[in-house]
Amino acid sequence: MSAPGIWQFCSRLLRRQLLLAVRRPIDIANPLLFFAMVVALFPLGLGPEPEKLAGFAPGVLWITALLSHLLTSDSVFRSDFDDGSLEQLLLAPQPLYLSALAYIGAHWLTTGLLLAVVSPLFALMLNLPVAALGVLVASLLLGTAVLSLLGAIGAALTVGLKRGGMLISLLILPLYMPVLIFGSAAVQAAVSGNPTGPYLAILGALLCLAIALAPLAAAAGLRISIDA
């Protein structure tokens, strides 16, 4: 019996988290339903003129995606904390940085990726020009990955609290701001025909920074939460 290697262990964790998510499909559907509901409310509140909606669409889509994502960020480590799996994870000989990254990866695959994939549908509901759809998906793919990584820091810090929902929003919303600014700016640039490369590049840079640092912070947060 040999201990699994680092990558083997990470892929095992990733598979485990994905299977758990698939067995609770309502948790996967929740953020998507929230996205659909909020987007459906905007034409009622702002009026149904297509031109007006198209003007607001980049910001509306990005804000809604961010909020749907925020809804789920609390749950990354929650059930593992409740049933004691997290204690075992912290004692595992494999580096916690990569284990945390596996958890975050599974979370992104079941929230951010799906939000990005379905976003063109909602974008058409808001009359976003078809030319901007590609940039919307790309910016959401990059942006929600950053959101997942940042959200995991808040989730790790608040996992020991019974009701950490509001606290986690306060902790991580300020960190979400740059992603929102550059994400919606990329879509706005695509709508008005300006180059979108710089915005996507900045989102990519944010993602690199978050991959390097966020799992470290999340791992430290988990150690503190388990110890408390």
């Binding site: 019996m1 040999s2 201990a3 699994p4 083997q8 262990f9 095992r12 964790l13 598979r15 485990r16 299977l19 758990l20 067995r23 609770r24 059930s79 593992d80 409740d82 049933d83 004691g84 799996s85 997290l86 204690e87 075992q88 994870l89 912290l90 004692l91 595992a92 000989p93 494999q94 284990s99 150690r223 388990i226 110890d227």
Partner: protein, 204 residues
């Protein structure tokens, strides 16, 4: 289980002090666990048994003074069963978060059979009882190759035959040169010397 660890130092704690809520739970506690020993930590509720186990396994990192040396891999079984309700017992063991060994299906099946869960390998764990969850967790002991076992109340929610089975497993592990540190109020019936560590605000 490796057989060459009998008599070697497997876990050492030096001058541990712990204070909780203004009360000193233990002071200057030193402990050397060698292969082939079984330590039972005793004491009334709130005496710091669980805190001590968590310090020994490395979950508690702050709030105490002293050093712990862990030269060999450990296996920790805590109060929580660490069993995912949405996974089957087989998946729970094969993908366990503790990052221990790679097990074959046959190994997992025999471990589950030995904790009395034969036939339950592939049912979702949420259909199992609390005691069966504990048993899934204890199946890790049959699979483990870690020389040191740190067990926090391993007999909780286990029925009589399960307790007998577990006692003989602990005896076999100790006989093979491993070491066990456990908290329990249960009087162990084993045919070798059990070392006691009594926590009662002051250490004897």
């Amino acid at each position: 289980m490796s057989t060459n660890t009998a008599g070697t130092l497997l876990l050492a704690a030096k001058s541990l002090c712990l204070e909780r809520g203004g009360r000193e739970l233990f002071r200057d506690l030193s402990l050397e666990v060698h292969g082939g020993q079984l330590w039972q930590i005793e004491g009334p509720n709130g005496a710091g048994k669980t805190s001590l186990i968590r310090i020994l396994c490395g979950l508690a990192r702050y709030g105490y003074t002293g050093q712990v040396q862990r030269p060999v891999p450990q296996l920790y079984v805590g109060h929580h069963p660490a069993v995912k309700a949405l996974l089957t017992p087989r998946e729970n063991l094969a993908w366990h978060a503790s990052g221990a060994g790679l097990y074959t299906d046959a190994q997992i099946e025999s471990a589950l059979a030995r904790v009395g869960l034969y036939g339950y390998e592939d049912v979702p764990s949420h259909t199992l009882s609390a005691g069966q969850h504990r048993r899934v967790n204890l199946a890790r002991l049959f699979l483990s190759s870690a020389p040191v076992w740190l067990l926090d109340e391993p007999f909780t929610a286990i029925d009589k035959s399960g307790i007998d089975e577990l006692q003989s497993l602990l005896a076999a592990h100790v006989a093979a040169g491993g070491a066990v540190v456990m908290t329990s109020h249960h009087t162990l019936r084993v045919d070798f010397e059990v070392r006691f560590l009594h926590l009662a605000g002051s250490v004897t």
